[in-house]
Amino acid sequence: MKFPMIFLALPLALTIGVLQAAAAEDAGQIKVSKGAVQIERSGERMPAPVGSVVRQGDLVITGADGSVGITFRDNSLLSVGPDSVLSIDRFVFDSTTHQGAFESSLKQGTLAVVSGKLAKQSPEAMKVRTPAAILGVRGTEFLVRTGSKD
């Protein structure tokens, strides 16, 4: 396969942003990050700019002006609004069979979900929890808000 040299210009465009190798334990990557966004991993908090990886066990935390969008390895898209806490409880994805599990918990705040290959393969694969409810997902886009009443 021979293509014009013009494509060699691409690496320049790709050096913008954080370059991180995709590792097996990575569940997803942050594609949108606005305002205060942090990842808490093993008790330590770190800022979460575009390009940061998200792993099973991570907490994704946004401040009053924060919002964040994450694309997972099965192409699920999760985005959270301000003052939110999202826990990535379990992420397992077999890229050959599309089997696995994606369980997350919105502890507080707002969440928008576009389900991906896991939910398409098996209706049981994706679960989203809140402190008061558990959601079952059959190939769909949906929104979640949770919090105690003021």
Binding site: F3, L10, G81, T96, K107, Q108
Partner: protein, 188 residues
């Protein structure tokens, strides 16, 4: 603030909404709290949980959704897009139209923040499932190597072999079908 949410369970302000989505059907969402389950299967069908164990259904609107979920919706990542390369029969060569596909692919990669490229091999149904798993992965790895030569950083590319599980044209087993012998390049 997580602590607050965990301890303040007595009175909830929880709201769940099924969106129309981009597919032919909106799919479905079940909301279960305690012993109660409510199924949302129409666009903008919504459920409210005001205390644990109590789920009530209602209908919401795009305008109401924008008000409550505006920032979360605005932060949605761009949807992944797929490009397809086809193989000439019985050769290692790609079909001629593939060159144009590659230029579209590179434009898509350049446009995205922190782009990732997943190269996914697919086969037709000639041969066994394990054989086709191996063949599809090998095709994907070859395309990955070509992309690396063209300047895409290797660390941004992952490969997968879907074997014969996801035919573009459904066929009976052992049917040769060129349109199913393809490599999908998913950009996200």
């Amino acid at each position: 603030m997580a602590l607050l949410a965990l301890t303040g369970c007595a009175t909830r302000n929880d709201f769940y909404v099924l969106l129309p989505g981009k597919g032919p059907s909106p799919g479905a969402l079940t909301v279960t709290s305690g012993n109660e389950t409510h199924t949302l299967d129409q666009p903008y069908a919504a459920a409210r949980v005001s205390r644990p164990g109590s789920v009530s259904g209602e209908k919401t609107s795009e305008a109401e959704v924008r008000q409550t979920f505006g920032p979360a919706l605005a932060a949605q990542p761009a949807r992944p897009v797929s490009f397809y390369l086809y193989f000439l029969q019985d050769t290692d060569e790609f079909a001629p139209e593939s060159k144009q596909v590659v230029s579209q692919l590179f434009a898509e990669i350049a446009r995205r923040p922190a782009p990732e490229i997943v190269v996914i091999g697919h086969t037709d149904r000639v041969g066994s499932v394990p054989y086709n798993d191996t063949l599809s992965l090998r095709r994907a790895e070859r395309v990955r190597d070509e992309l690396v030569k063209l300047g895409v950083p290797r660390a941004r590319i992952s490969v997968a072999g879907r074997g014969e599980r996801e035919p573009e044209v459904p066929t009976a087993d052992e049917v040769a079908e060129p349109r199913n012998r393809r490599v999908e390049i998913n950009v996200r």
